[in-house]
Symmetry: C2
Subunit: 233 residues, 2 copies
DNA sequence: CGGCTTATTGATCCGACTCAACGTTAGTGG
DNA sequence: CCACTAACGTTGAGTCGGATCAATAAGCCG
């Protein structure tokens, strides 16, 4: 959550209840009362919303360390559904606790804002992808964002296991399952990746970046200062 | 913002600076330092993000009463761009003020969370639209959401002026400008709306709702309780 | 082992895009 | 105030990316 260790200990005092759910099980439904937020300890979770005729859009895949459900604050009930992708362990954090907690630790409020701000930024990037990118760009963007996410947690950025199915990837990226498969095959033919069921190896991140139309960190370093003010934070 | 009147008066104390910008002018750029949030007094604003090769996705149209720029909290700089759709008057609210303000009025923190939660919800609905709906459903959904928004502010829900161009509508909905035009024409042929440049009249909201695959409030009342817990808030 | 879910590949089709032309409106400057 | 120009809106023709339907293979779990 980005709290310091003292705060984390205090947090632990408030957060006692743990819950383990298996692959495919629901953490919370859309429309359900907002009583708890959930911090993921291990495993992974997908969140989705759906039209009333059953089409569903996955809005995010969530991994350990992330906090789920905060966006229910406005309406007092969850507007999306959260389902485990694999056996997943979470901490339930009572909404009431948040109030107490925030009085004890002033930075909690700020951290909540920061997390929601982060989610908004993520959602905006997904909207750009859904609204403006073609299938190839979408999948390349996706692979690179996974790569970055694993790198941040000190896992390999070039080889990882997907916890989600091809169908889930498609649902997240707004393309059909079959298109995901075909693109994986094509990326593999062209030597950019290798796939073996859910194990993905990125072989040519540079080329993937070109397809995704994203910068390499190195290239970005040359560009960002031009649009930034002198001090960044 | 949803504050009570005493709070609003206190808020007014902190918020002094006003700014007027004309159609097409930029309120803030992506990458710009986050120094101010902006409350819209009159006019309207579009926010957008873009790929580095220039395709841009409009993420929202904003009207008086809305607060802009809060999602920059996490990174300390704006990640989207805000441009006026017409002559628009805003209040600049200094980021530093927020800290002071929140100490004076405890509910400010909560209100910020609520507003960001609302934005996330809006963004999720847009993602569903972008990922899963066809062009016809997108435009019908859009017209109905405008209608609801005007109704909430006690304007006519069946006749209103669009402040955004066809191109902007297309960019928001992830479809081409030409497709927007064609659909307006078709909706008109079929008697669901009449258009006269930017003046839109909704003639058959029921049929639009069916196309958008959304419920009428009346119909929703029958259905929601089935998926909700016994008490809703 | 057997049934079920997941993944892959092929064939076909259509919705929406692109390119293009043209009419209309609003904004600008002389 | 009018003329000019750029922006906006509309409609048509042709194309194609990705969806859908279908069949089969390959893991996975009880």
């Amino acid at each position: 959550m980005g709290l310091n260790s003292a705060d984390t200990r205090l947090l632990d005092h408030y957060v006692k209840r743990k819950r383990t759910i298996k692959r495919g099980q629901v953490l919370y439904h859309a429309g359900e009362e907002f009583s708890y937020a959930y911090a993921i300890r291990s495993g992974s979770v997908k969140t989705s919303i759906s039209t009333d005729d059953g089409r569903l859009q996955i809005t995010g895949f969530h991994i350990p360390g992330e906090l789920l459900g905060l966006n229910a604050i406005d309406e007092g009930r969850h507007n999306c559904e959260a389902v485990a992708l694999e056996t997943t362990s979470v901490c339930e954090i009572s909404v009431n606790c948040f109030e107490e907690l925030a009085q004890q630790i002033p930075s909690v409020h700020y951290e909540m804002l920061r997390m929601m701000s982060k989610e908004i930024k993520h959602n905006q990037e997904l909207m750009l992808l859904l609204g403006k990118k073609n299938a190839e760009e979408r999948l390349a963007t996706y692979l690179l964002s996974l790569s970055r996410r694993f790198a941040m947690r000190n896992y390999s950025s070039t080889q990882f296991n997907l916890s989600m199915s091809r169908r889930d990837i498609g649902s997240y990226l707004g393309i059909a399952e079959e298109t995901v498969c075909r693109l994986f095959s094509r990326f593999q033919e062209e030597g950019m990746i290798t796939t073996e069921r859910r194990l993905i190896t990125l072989k040519d991140i540079k080329r993937l970046s070109r397809i995704a139309r994203e910068f390499h960190p190195a290239a970005a370093a040359r560009v960002i200062p031009l649009t930034l003010p002198s001090h960044s934070r």
